[in-house]
């Protein structure tokens, strides 16, 4: 029983890593209608900026805040000068542009900071506490709580604020939004800037555990995409729950289902997706998309 609880808690912890990235992907999608493959890369860049500041003896929290602000600016600039051109056109082209952006950002991080692993200081003390016979680090709990907080904020943003409504309007129908007098371009920039800031927070939460390298978020990207699809492209709560489910079920399947074992446990998210999509094609929490013919 102890093993079971430990696996569940560890699953929540690793699921939070996927959730952090997935939330940023959801934000960009809600704000601009694109799937941003480069979200993880941008989070890594933010983490490097924060790390560089701590290497220059800036206190950790301040460094992270500065990197969040810097990421907002970078995200807005990227949207304005790079992504803007592709937003109305073929969605496949836009996705490939984000793929190119990912390669470029990874390369830039490697160029500036090399491939040597950098140690990212942890926001939380390195202690553990015991819950129901299982051991969990304070760092994991902190990450989980932070993710929940971000998820709540995002949900409030989209459903409760004018800004959120404006962002979604611009993404769904830019022409109508423009006719209604909304500053379409500025809203798009804000959307990407917010997503980049969210990525900065995710990077800072995750880097202490994953060790800061240019390719740090590559493995998490696939899990994040799976969480986004299972949870529904439109629902922050949905993707966080989906990410947790993925983390937990993966661990359980690896240990308790010998056929899957530890090498094929990566099949678990996809089996989940298949099952969910058969039952609910819009994702667990997503809204049904009505397409006019």
């Amino acid at each position: 029983m102890g093993t079971f609880i430990q696996l569940v808690i560890d699953g929540l912890s690793s699921g939070s890593i996927y959730a952090a990235l997935a939330l940023a992907i959801v934000l960009v999608n809600q704000a601009t209608g694109l799937i941003n493959f480069a979200q993880g890369g941008m989070a890594v860049l933010s983490a490097y900026i924060a790390w560089q500041l701590t290497a220059w003896s800036v206190p950790l929290l301040l460094a992270i805040l500065i990197s969040i602000a810097a990421s907002f600016v970078i995200g807005a600039i990227v949207e304005r000068f790079l992504i803007r051109k592709f937003e109305g056109g073929d969605p496949d082209t836009a996705v490939v542009v984000t793929i190119g952006l990912l390669t470029l950002i990874t390369g830039i991080c490697a160029w500036i900071w090399s491939y040597n692993n950098k140690l990212f200081p942890s926001l939380f003390p390195l202690e553990t506490i015991s819950i129901a016979g299982a051991v969990v680090s304070v760092r994991s709990i902190g990450t989980i709580l932070a993710i929940v907080a971000i998820m709540v904020l995002l949900q409030l943003l989209f459903l409760g604020t004018k800004l959120g409504l404006a962002l979604r309007a611009v993404a769904i129908n830019p022409q109508s939004a423009a006719f209604s007098g909304m500053p379409v371009g500025r809203l798009l920039m804000v959307g990407w800037g917010l997503a980049a800031s969210l990525g900065a927070v995710a990077g800072a939460l995750v880097a202490p555990q994953l060790t800061l390298t240019p390719n740090m978020m590559d493995s998490a990207l696939v899990y994040a995409l799976a969480a986004v699809i299972i949870g529904g492209l439109t629902s922050p709560i949905g993707v966080v729950i989906a990410a947790w489910l993925i983390g937990v079920l993966e661990n359980l399947a690896a240990v308790y289902v010998p056929l899957i074992g530890h090498d094929l446990k990566i099949a678990v998210p996809f089996i989940m997706i298949f099952v969910v999509l058969i039952v609910r094609p819009q994702g667990l929490f997503g809204r049904k998309a009505v397409v006019r013919v």
Binding site: V96, L101, L104, A178, L225, A289
Partner: protein, 364 residues
């Protein structure tokens, strides 16, 4: 209407071009240095892979991020067959059929579920494929891979190995391109286009989206298998890395850069896949990631429709110079004709330059 297309329409010109291409295909391998031949052969391999991806993504509009899985499967089938000393024609047939059957089964299951399901199932293929290839090590050689050298030039040809390999690639790739071209120019191609544009309309016209999606996916996997066979012809080694997910993403990028929904674009996509790493290595081996990302972004910035839309770019440039009136009228007409919303199913059936409308979009 420019004179170039008018010239191309004349039948005798088309025959002359075909004749010149055939002569080049026969003569070039004999005169080019070895490295050029192996590079051309590898371009052929990945051009066929991108062609398959184009059939299912460019022409039929279904997202597939698993094309590399079928290439890897075809390569493994080939390697295994060669190691077991089976007849090479049988090996080729198996390398085409087995991926096609797998693709058919996958499509039968996923096509009913909508675009998202197909996308995720295709992502699953290479991601689960790699550990699976390692697990089935009696067939796949595990993580150390399988080496299968079977394309040494036979004595009676008097050719060098690389020339022989290039001929095989040219022959098989040429036939694949020809057959696919006929497929997408005929009634199947038109059906694909309708399914891509609007599935409800397709259904109301009596064209079953499900059936044509399955067909497109099967053709794509078959072409993937062919490219896997050609991969073994040229590289003569395969390992789990052959079908890793990162390559699928690069194939997608190559397809878009070459030109989605275009036969010539698939060839250009294959060239992009092979030549870009070599080009960036020439510039600076330590900066390949930065350079590849930059190249991709620059090409798409200048040519959002892909490399295959280059003539269109020149035509538009010349059109602008030749007179504001006619050009402005033409541009205004196409701006209102092209929908500029970001609706999820927004990709058009015909590929016309999307940039014109965007240049007129209001910026803040």
């Amino acid at each position: 209407m420019s004179t170039a297309t008018a010239v191309m329409r004349k039948p005798w010109v088309r025959w002359a071009v075909i004749a010149i291409v055939v002569v080049l295909a026969i003569v070039l391998p004999l005169v080019l240095p070895e490295f050029a031949n192996t590079t051309l052969a590898r371009i052929g391999v990945f051009a066929v892979a991108v062609l398959g991806l184009n059939v299912v993504m460019g022409y039929t509009g279904q997202v597939s991020l698993g094309q590399i899985f079928f290439l890897g499967l075809g390569a493994y089938v080939t390697a295994y067959g060669v190691q077991q000393d089976w007849n090479i024609v049988l090996v080729f047939v198996l390398a085409c059929l087995i991926p096609a059957v797998v693709g058919l089964l996958v499509a039968l299951a996923a096509a009913r579920l909508g675009g998202l399901a197909i996308a995720m199932v295709t992502i699953a293929l290479p991601i689960v494929g790699v550990p699976l290839a390692k697990r089935l090590s009696e067939f796949t050689g595990g993580s150390q891979g399988l080496s299968a050298r079977f394309t040494a030039a036979p004595e009676w040809t008097g050719l060098y190995d690389d020339q022989w390999q290039l001929y095989i690639v040219l022959l098989i790739a040429g036939i694949s391109f020809l057959l696919t071209r006929n497929l997408v120019r005929g009634k199947y191609g038109r059906a694909f286009a309708i399914v891509k544009g609007n599935e409800a309309v397709a259904g109301s016209m009596g064209i079953s989206p499900y059936r044509y999606k399955v067909l497109a996916f099967t053709v794509a996997s078959l072409l993937g298998g062919v490219s896997g066979f050609l991969y073994m012809v040229v590289i003569q080694y395969t390992s789990p890395e052959t079908l890793s997910f990162g390559h699928s993403i690069t194939l997608l990028a190559s397809m878009v850069i070459g030109g989605a929904g275009s036969i010539l674009g698939s060839l250009l996509g294959g060239a992009y896949y092979v030549l870009t790493p070599q080009l960036t290595n020439l510039i600076d081996p330590g900066l390949t990631a930065v350079l590849q990302g930059a190249i991709l972004l620059i090409v798409l910035f200048v040519l959002p429709g892909g490399l295959v839309s280059l003539p269109r770019l020149f035509r538009r440039r010349r059109g602008r110079e030749q007179g504001g009136g006619a050009a402005a009228a033409k541009a205004a007409a196409s701006a209102t004709a092209v929908p500029s919303t970001s609706a999820p199913d927004g990709a058009d059936v015909t590929t016309h330059p999307p940039t014109e409308s965007e240049e007129r979009r209001q910026d803040t």
